[in-house]
């Protein structure tokens, strides 16, 4: 018997709405879980998912994707690419897997909440596939690093990081809980699917896949491509909702959701993408700077998708454009300085050749961030290792959960407010705006410094902090990726001038 074309049966099969008789509509779809208050009941059936697929097609495609990724992995293991890779690249793998793998399981819960609580039948249908996508992403990104544990215990963080109180994990959980786990279905889809996935993960995975191929890591490149093709599909879940909100007089609310999610996503990506792209990727494989990447993929392309919907750039656009030239440089200095608090070994990326590249991409780098590196390099050259890890903690933003950094002698500034008797610190005016828009959402969270000052961390010293974060028990903390080999160039220069 011939199969019908998908288009001939799709609409009938996915129109699963019915009229409840035993419960009220709000009991079936509680507003706090479903969202979309103010949208007329009849608009939900008009949700038209831009990417349609049948279960039969989905399973077949996903099976092919998995077969491709796993076969590349099996073939390349024999080539021992891991041991031939630059240590900076290995650090990117460690950072990525630990920050992402378990969050993918969280994302499957996010999508499953759409399956149950979304009032739009089309969204429920597509979210079913999204839920399956995310389970696959969780599994594959736990399985691939698991193979590396026998080479390096820091890969244990791939599974453990999100169960720990590591400061990066605290920041990532705060972000993902905010945008993915604690809002109604409509808001979550605008926050997570549209802003985060369309704006950042989809594009980030394209960049990461390219970097992996250039670095010779075709296993990771194939893995990322396999995931990105899923993201490109389910990331579109939010767009029809945005159209519905805009058409029904809720453009301002939609814009605000995007503005919050965009900034929060960007700040997290300064750690996950900004630092690796400009410092960890070996110089010979490095092409676009993080700033150039952001300008091409985010400033141009994501903004075009906003404009297509009739929305505007976020209000803080000028702040954002300045920030992509500086924030991640400060975070790199911070993560490298406090490297024992990381689960990966950071690459310094500041050899004389690296600095020339940084100066070309970020004019003025040597006169600002470079000045700080000069002091640190002087300590490394003279073997004053005890002075290369600060004896105190950085102040941490109560929204981004990241250290408050800035360009030395230019933009570094603490922004704080007192709310109901407690002082909150922010890394930018945008973080402060996000907090003040909904303080009840954010005010109870204690960042690492709040916990330190509140006596949650004992003993109250660096050792206590590391133990609290799980360093040493889950796996060893970070140290220079290249064993400080890059310092030798500076030692030779010093000897030549002596």
């Amino acid at each position: 018997m011939a199969l019908l074309e998908r288009a001939q049966w799709y609409d009938i099969a996915r129109s699963t709405d019915w009229t409840p008789r035993y419960v009220k509509q709000d009991e079936l779809f509680p507003p706090e879980l479903s969202g979309g208050e103010g949208l007329p009941d009849d608009v939900w059936a008009t949700y038209d998912e831009p990417y349609k697929i049948s279960y039969r097609e989905y399973v077949d495609i996903q099976r092919q994707k998995d077969a491709g990724a796993y076969s590349v992995k099996a073939a390349l293991e024999r080539a021992d690419l891991y041991n031939k890779a630059d240590p900076g690249w290995i650090s990117i793998l460690k950072e990525h897997y630990a920050a992402v793998a378990l969050v993918e399981y969280g994302a499957s819960l996010q999508e499953s909440r759409f399956v149950r609580w979304s009032k739009a039948p089309g969204m429920r249908n597509m979210a079913t596939f999204g839920m399956l996508d995310e389970i696959r992403h969780g599994q594959i990104q736990l399985y691939f690093p698991h193979e590396y544990i026998n080479k390096d215990r820091q890969f244990e963080w791939s599974h453990a990081s999100m169960f720990s109180n590591n400061w990066v994990s605290l920041g990532a959980r705060h972000f993902f809980d905010d945008v993915m786990m604690t809002r109604d279905a409509v808001s979550t889809s605008v926050f997570a699917n549209f802003s985060f996935e369309t704006g950042f993960t989809n594009l980030q995975f394209i960049g990461l896949s390219g970097d992996a191929a250039k670095a010779g890591d075709f296993t990771f490149s194939k893995l990322i491509q396999s995931i990105q093709s899923d993201e490109a599909r389910h990331a579109q879940l939010g767009t029809p909702l945005l159209q519905m909100l805009i058409e029904n007089g809720q453009k301002e609310e939609a814009q605000k959701k995007i503005d919050i999610a965009f900034w929060r996503s960007y700040r997290l990506f300064t750690i996950l993408s900004g630092i690796p792209m400009d410092y960890y990727v070996p110089l010979e494989n490095r092409e676009d700077s993080f700033k150039e990447f952001m300008e091409e993929w985010i400033v141009t392309q994501f903004m075009r998708s906003l404009e297509d919907l009739g929305l505007s750039k976020p209000w803080y656009w000028d702040i954002f454009l300045r920030d992509i030239s500086e924030h991640h440089h400060g975070q790199h200095l911070g993560t490298y300085s406090w490297r024992p608090t990381l689960w990966w070994n950071p690459a310094a990326g500041v050899s004389p050749e690296d600095r020339d590249w940084l100066e070309e991409k970020y004019p003025g780098w040597n006169a600002t961030f470079g000045k700080v590196w000069d002091v640190m390099i002087d300590n490394f050259v003279h073997d004053r290792m005890d002075r290369t890890v600060p004896g105190t903690l950085p102040i941490i933003c109560n929204v981004s959960q990241l250290p408050i950094v800035g360009t030395p002698s230019q933009t570094l500034r603490d922004i704080s407010i007192v709310h109901e008797g407690r002082r909150y610190h922010f890394a930018s005016e945008v973080d402060k705006w996000i907090f003040e828009d909904d303080p009840e959402r954010y005010r109870h969270q204690k960042n690492l410094v709040d916990r330190f000052l509140g006596g949650d961390i004992q003993p109250a010293d660096l050792g206590g902090v590391l133990a609290y974060m799980g360093l040493g028990s889950v796996g060893p903390g970070g140290d220079d990726a290249h064993g400080f080999a890059w310092v030798d160039t500076y030692r030779r220069k010093l000897a030549a001038t002596a």
């Binding site: 911070g334 700080v372 300590n379 105190t392 102040i395 704080s416 000052l453």
Partner: protein, 84 residues
């Protein structure tokens, strides 16, 4: 004597740092403790010059003998430390 943690911005540094100051500490002692976290670690030393402390954004520094308590600084409030 009470511990009053401060947020410190040492000029030339790239990050705001935590300093567990004490209410009886003078501004010279605050500056010295902040310098221990910054000078020779992230900021070059400037021998022969005096360190001063001011509230973030203020035009003038606190007198060098003013204590943290006298200055009315609240927990985790931000001060700037700089070479005069």
């Amino acid at each position: 004597m009470t511990v009053i943690p401060l947020a410190t911005h040492f000029h030339g540094d790239f990050v705001i740092k935590l300093l567990p100051a004490e209410s009886t500490h003078t501004m010279d002692e605050v500056a010295s403790a902040a310098a221990a976290n910054a000078v020779g670690i992230h900021v070059p030393d400037q021998p022969g010059r005096t360190l001063r402390v001011r509230k973030q954004g203020a035009d003038t520094p606190y007198p060098r003998t003013t204590t943290v308590a006298d200055a009315g600084l609240e927990p985790t409030e931000c001060v700037e430390i700089y070479f005069e």
